[in-house]
Symmetry: C2
Subunit: 347 residues, 2 copies
DNA sequence: GCAGGGTCTGTGACCGGTCACAGAACGCAG
DNA sequence: CTGCGTTCTGTGACCGGTCACAGACCCTGC
């Protein structure tokens, strides 16, 4: 080893950071007293408190997180696990809102949020390392697949976690979600009530509870009118996939007069395809989305869609994880938040 | 304290996680040898190596990050500091691309990326705690204000950092960026060359190098034709702000025949306002954006805009920080990446 | 004067890794 | 057989915090 001495004496490099011992010496007290002051415990004399505060300011003391984490066996960090390609993670405003909601609750509680994006399968191992390496105290899981290996990891490591969405069969864990099935049924009912007769669906992400439930609800409400020919499946909630799927659906069933898209992004893509095909929305074809995201308002005409309280979902999930950390019994029943159909110009 | 004993005996709670000592005992070796195997050092007998590997698998050992960080005085984490409101952080595809680029380089080098969003001023302190608390080894700074207090913090703590964008006067630090001034001048030149005579600008974020430089370049190229009356300032690169600013500009100068918007999001808002005012784009008014983000393609007509290699900026910034960590001399000159005007339908 | 309680402080061990050093085991040349 | 170098292993100290415990000090009441 001939490299430069990174851990060498202060002769080169950064001036070693002040530790709690430096503060103790400066204040003429012991380490124990300094910790007590810093953690606001009882049984500290005003004189000691003041001396420590002055010393902290003087030596520019900042606590070392790694040391504290090690001693306390906790990190004050929560993992936000998203099982989506990186790009979609940023494009999907729904996930963004959930993230924002979770983040606001967590930072209010002085917790840090660490985004863990599961992109490729190869990432599973990295994620497991993360969750178990004492990096996070708990996890919020978003958009997991029904057969996600993440569930095994969480169970094996017994990391406190809350799922956004309904857990798959056989898995019991705390969760918050919306009634996707009921909401989808409400959409279909609305379309029928406004006189539509040939109603198609762009069904996305059937490997996840949200996608599967939306299709199920759609089928519920349509009853006899349900025609599998009018359903096109697409893997992800994506704009471009929506456009392609709509084109395909039009080719297959040119006579349709309404479409339910499984998300606003998909609906925006569908709108583009409908426009390209010369169909007027809503005159020729009614179009409904899902999420009530910024996509919905950005469309022309603005989308009729299902409002889902994404921000609140994030907040609730964060609260649930924090509650678990405080030792509260995990609420395994899950809680469903209200949704409602927002009628705008497109249907 | 009557709470449940979190750190009590394994009678309740999670079964204490295996440590390196457990592995050593299981393998019939010492801690030292185990570390050597785990870190792939020389001077380990094949027998020992194999015994350790078996023991690791048997006891389910996972290294504790906090302990390792403490001992090594590093975290293998890089902070990605964004000085923007939370919401915009997610909405701005440019920042998203930079983030993606940085993340890909960092995870390839087995580094973790921690997003640090500076929203309110109150956050400055939290961020300082972060950067200094041994939480990250270095930082990538995006969209800093010219007088950002973050620069003081970085300098005081001597955290290796790289800036995306040009540093303000008086600050020397490694950076990567694009020639905003030259690119803006190219846009203005393009507009003049296509016969436009009354050219306005929606100038955003003048408190940042990108915003200020784009306005300066615009003025450079327009020369005598520059009319301050035709410039509307807006605080952030935002869709809604762009729409409002365009409405204001139209009221002020109804005769204008071209507009340069400081970002695609702003341009998309402006397009909406122009349409509402009954102006045809590009027939009545030419419109140019900046960023070549997904907004540009989503508009109708698609936007003429400036392509900026956002992903590459992120990659370069990450590489620069990693190089600093390896002890390479920091490249203080900064590097400018190429941009070019992409001509589409709107101008 | 002393027991008993509350307040305040200092000390040593510990969290789970890494590292420098010391030394054991072995081969080989003189 | 001794000396030397290489390979391999174990030990104790350390990173920078926290915590349990022991004790010092002060006040009060008998």
């Amino acid at each position: 080893m001939t490299g430069t001495s990174i851990r060498g004496m202060p002769s080169t490099g950064a001036p070693r950071r002040a530790t709690i011992r430096d503060v103790a010496v400066e204040a003429g007290l012991s380490r124990g007293t300094v910790t007590r002051v810093l953690n606001g415990e009882r049984y500290v004399s005003p004189a000691a408190r003041e001396a420590v505060e002055r010393a902290v300011a003087k030596v520019g003391y900042v606590p070392n997180t790694a040391a504290r984490n090690l001693a306390l066996r906790r990190t004050h960090a929560i993992g936000f696990c998203v099982h989506e390609p990186h790009a979609l993670f940023l494009e999907d405003p729904n996930i963004g809102s959930i993230l924002l909601g979770a983040n606001s609750v967590l930072s209010a509680a002085d917790f840090q949020m660490v985004s863990i994006v599961i992109d490729s399968l190869r990432d599973s191992e990295r994620v497991a390392r993360y969750l178990s390496g004492g990096f996070v105290d708990g996890a919020i899981v978003v958009s997991a697949r029904q057969d996600d290996s993440l569930f095994d990891v969480l169970h094996r490591l017994s990391v406190p976690a809350t799922l956004v969405g309904r857990p798959p069969e056989g898995i019991t864990m705390p969760w918050v979600g919306i009634d996707n099935r009921g909401a989808a049924a409400a959409v279909a009912t609305h379309l029928l009530a406004t006189g539509r007769r040939r109603v198609g669906m762009l069904a996305a992400a059937l490997d996840r509870d949200s996608g599967a439930d939306r299709l199920a609800g759609f089928r519920d409400a349509l009853g006899d009118r349900f025609d599998p020919e009018l359903v096109v499946e697409l893997p992800l909630y994506e704009y471009t996939a929506g456009r392609a799927a709509m084109t395909q659906l039009l080719a297959r069933a040119p006579e349709l007069d309404a479409v339910f898209a499984a998300s606003d992004a998909v609906a925006a893509g569908a709108l583009e395809a409908l426009r390209a095909a010369g169909r007027r929305v809503p005159d020729d074809v009614a179009l409904v989305g899902f999420d009530d995201s910024s996509w919905a308002l950005r469309c022309d005409p603005p989308l009729t869609t299902v409002h889902q309280p994404a921000r609140v979902l994030g907040e609730r999930a964060a609260q649930s994880v924090l509650a678990q950390l405080r030792g509260a019994p995990a609420d395994l029943d899950g809680s469903l938040l209200e949704t409602h159909v927002v009628v705008r110009g497109s249907a």
